[in-house]
């Protein structure tokens, strides 16, 4: 334990734009295989993968002889990306900086939409996944438990979560600038993830009555009441068959896609056809998926406004400029906490192990 150190390899919106993140991001189906290979790296004793639409990060606890470059080599090989290209669009940290980075990530101040809360859930999910695979051990357990505590402290004791950073609220504001009253605009949500739910909540809270939800799982398993129709029921909306949504685009004013299909579901041809049936009415499209679900050429069509995650996040962060001082204060406090935790981890290894023994993902 005394010879262990922490390592991190990551790529996020800070160093890679959307197109590059799409290349680095791991598809859900490949995660098992990725973990298997990762655990075989010489010297790496513990590992954890945090894979969200805005970041791909590998946390590791290893012997002092471990070369952190192995992580980069492995990821570049796995994703079939040039090593130098990946090195250029990623960052590596070791020791105390890993603690500080995780604190910033889990508290939301490193997020594209500063102060957002979804990231904490994603970090917890990543931690649970690693524990389920027995990939995380004492060192990472302690690190992540402290990370969750730091996130809670930051939200309670600083103002980083105040104001509108929520994706749904930002979308409502954009819809207001296009259509006026949000309650009058008809919303179609494709997918049933967190982003979709956030948008549904925001539209519903502003009095929107015409909410429709569709998703791939709806058609795959129509009798089992999967998420799209559950969501529709929860928000008093309608469920639309996934096979029919493309021919119904013209009925909607705001269309949000949030699926992990990895391919373009809405093409310029479909949007052009829809616009012919609603020529003078604008159409607001939001692509909240990575990889994107809406062909970016759609934005060239007259009266169509296409926003992706980067755009929405940029707007949210613009709104948050007034919070910069609060974020700085938070970052400063988290850095102090990180130093203290790292000192404890490196000086009192026995107490670390005793604490970690009682830590489980469910706790």
């Amino acid at each position: 334990m005394q010879n262990q150190s922490l390592h991190l390899l990551g790529s996020s919106h800070h160093v890679a734009d959307l197109g590059i993140r799409e290349k680095i991001n791991l598809p859900a189906s490949a995660i098992d295989e990725f973990y298997q290979g990762l655990r075989q790296l010489p010297g790496l004793e513990e590992c954890l993968l945090l894979n969200t639409c805005n970041r791909t990060e590998i946390y590791g606890a290893a012997n002092n002889g471990f070369s952190p470059n192995l992580l980069c080599e492995y990821l570049s090989e796995f994703r079939k990306i040039d090593y130098d290209f990946l090195a250029q669009h990623s960052y590596q940290h070791s020791g105390e900086k890993v603690v500080k980075h995780l604190f910033e990530v889990s508290s939301g101040i490193d997020s594209q939409m500063v102060g957002e809360t979804e990231i904490l859930g994603q970090v917890k999910k990543a931690y649970e996944d690693a524990c389920t695979r027995n990939a995380a051990g004492k060192m990472l357990n302690r690190l992540f438990q402290k990370g969750f505590q730091a996130a809670k402290w930051a939200r309670t004791n600083t103002g980083i979560s105040k104001g509108q950073v929520n994706l749904g609220n930002v979308l409502c504001e954009l819809a207001r600038r296009i259509f006026g009253k949000v309650s009058n605009s008809r919303l179609l949500v494709i997918g049933a993830g967190d982003v979709a739910e956030s948008a549904l909540e925001a539209f519903k809270s502003r009095g929107s009555q015409a909410i429709t939800v569709t998703g791939r799982t709806f058609d795959w398993c129509p009798l089992s009441r999967r998420k799209p129709d559950e969501l529709a029921e929860k928000y008093g909306g309608f469920a639309l068959s996934f096979s029919k949504f493309q021919e119904s685009l013209h009925h909607f004013d705001v269309i949000l896609t949030s699926t992990a299909s990895g391919k373009a579901m809405i093409t310029p041809t479909e949007v052009q056809l829809a616009m012919k049936r609603r020529p003078s009415k604008p159409l607001f499209l939001i692509d909240a998926s990575v990889p994107r679900n809406i062909d970016e050429k759609v934005a060239r069509i007259d009266n169509v406004f296409l926003y992706n995650m980067d755009d929405v996040s940029a707007i949210a962060n613009e709104n948050l400029k007034t919070r910069e001082a609060e974020v700085d204060r938070c970052r400063h406090a988290l850095a102090k906490k990180a130093i203290r935790i790292w000192e404890q981890m490196s000086v009192q290894p026995n107490s670390i192990s005793s604490i970690n023994q009682s830590v489980t993902p469910n706790s």
Partner: protein
């Protein structure tokens, strides 16, 4: 400042519109700017009263509706623009539209005053005859100019549409775009203004046409040609918008372009062929 002099009053009215415009901008862009909430609207209202008084004095000078030179026509259009805004303001609270209208009236009003050559004192000529041979012609001219006022308001609404549209495409979150009305509402407003303006212009042409049939010598061929071109332009714009062929940013750009053409053609819209020398303000002041 002579409160009986038309030009002095026009300068004052323009100044009041300018005050309304700058207060409106400060209210929009400066968070900590605190002034009486209705200050821009009050400045516009006072400006309109002064403007009306100025046109009234000029009307007394020319013994009719003051539309005899470019300055008078520009000022009458600006007066119509503010009147249309004030009527709309009774129905909806449109502070930013007021700032845009005040801004246009300030800049265009003072610009027209800066060039004395635009304000020839034609009524001081020895052989001056009343501008309008009969009340129907006067009605024709005033409705036509009022329709231009509506079209200038249409241009402002279209400019607001383009600003909001560009901000949405550029993902800009500036204060101006967040205060501007939604593009959907602006497009509806633009369509209604186009409808009202086109109806007014058509009515004006019908009234003017009846007079022209009896006295074609009063209308120059260039005026007839430009008037018909503009009327056809606005009718075509209305038809294209109605049939959803032209909408959105292209419609807005076309509306602004057509209004600019209308403004540029103002110099050719004189009813009578004035071959005699026209006295300039400087010349008359020496007399």
């Amino acid at each position: 400042m002579n409160f009986q002099d038309t030009r002095d009053l026009l300068w004052l009215a323009g100044g009041l519109y300018g005050v309304a415009f700058f207060i409106g901008l400060l209210k929009t862009f400066k968070n900590n700017f605190s002034l009486f909430r209705e200050a821009p609207f009050i400045a516009i209202s006072f400006g309109f009263i002064v403007h009306t008084r100025a046109l009234y004095f000029r009307g007394l000078d020319v013994h009719g509706c003051p539309l005899g030179n470019t300055l008078e026509r520009v000022q009458f259009i600006l007066w119509s623009l503010i009147l249309a805004f004030l009527i709309l303001r009774l129905l909806w609270r449109l502070d930013l539209l007021g700032s845009f209208c005040a801004g246009l009236s300030f800049f265009a009003g003072w610009l027209s005053l800066l060039f004395p050559s635009l304000d020839s004192k034609y009524w001081l000529l020895e052989n001056y005859q009343r501008l309008f041979s009969n009340p129907w012609v006067e009605l024709h001219a005033s409705i036509a100019i009022f329709s231009y006022g509506i079209f200038s308001l249409l241009s402002i609404v279209c400019a607001m549409y383009l600003v909001q549209h560009k901000a949405l495409l550029d993902r800009a979150t500036g204060k101006l775009s967040s205060f501007l009305p939604p593009i959907h509402d602006l497009e509806h407003a633009a369509f209604r203004l186009l409808l009202i303006g086109t109806l007014c212009l058509t009515l004006s042409l019908i009234v003017g046409g009846m007079h022209w049939l009896r006295h074609p010598e009063y209308v120059t061929s260039i005026k007839l040609f430009i008037t018909l071109i503009l009327w056809a332009g606005y009718c075509l714009l209305f038809f294209l918008r109605c049939s959803n062929i032209l909408f959105g940013s292209k419609f807005s750009k076309a509306s602004i372009a057509l209004f600019l053409i209308a403004m540029l053609s103002m110099g050719f819209m004189s009813s009578k062929d004035k071959s005699s020398t026209i006295l300039q303000p400087q010349q008359t002041s020496q007399e």
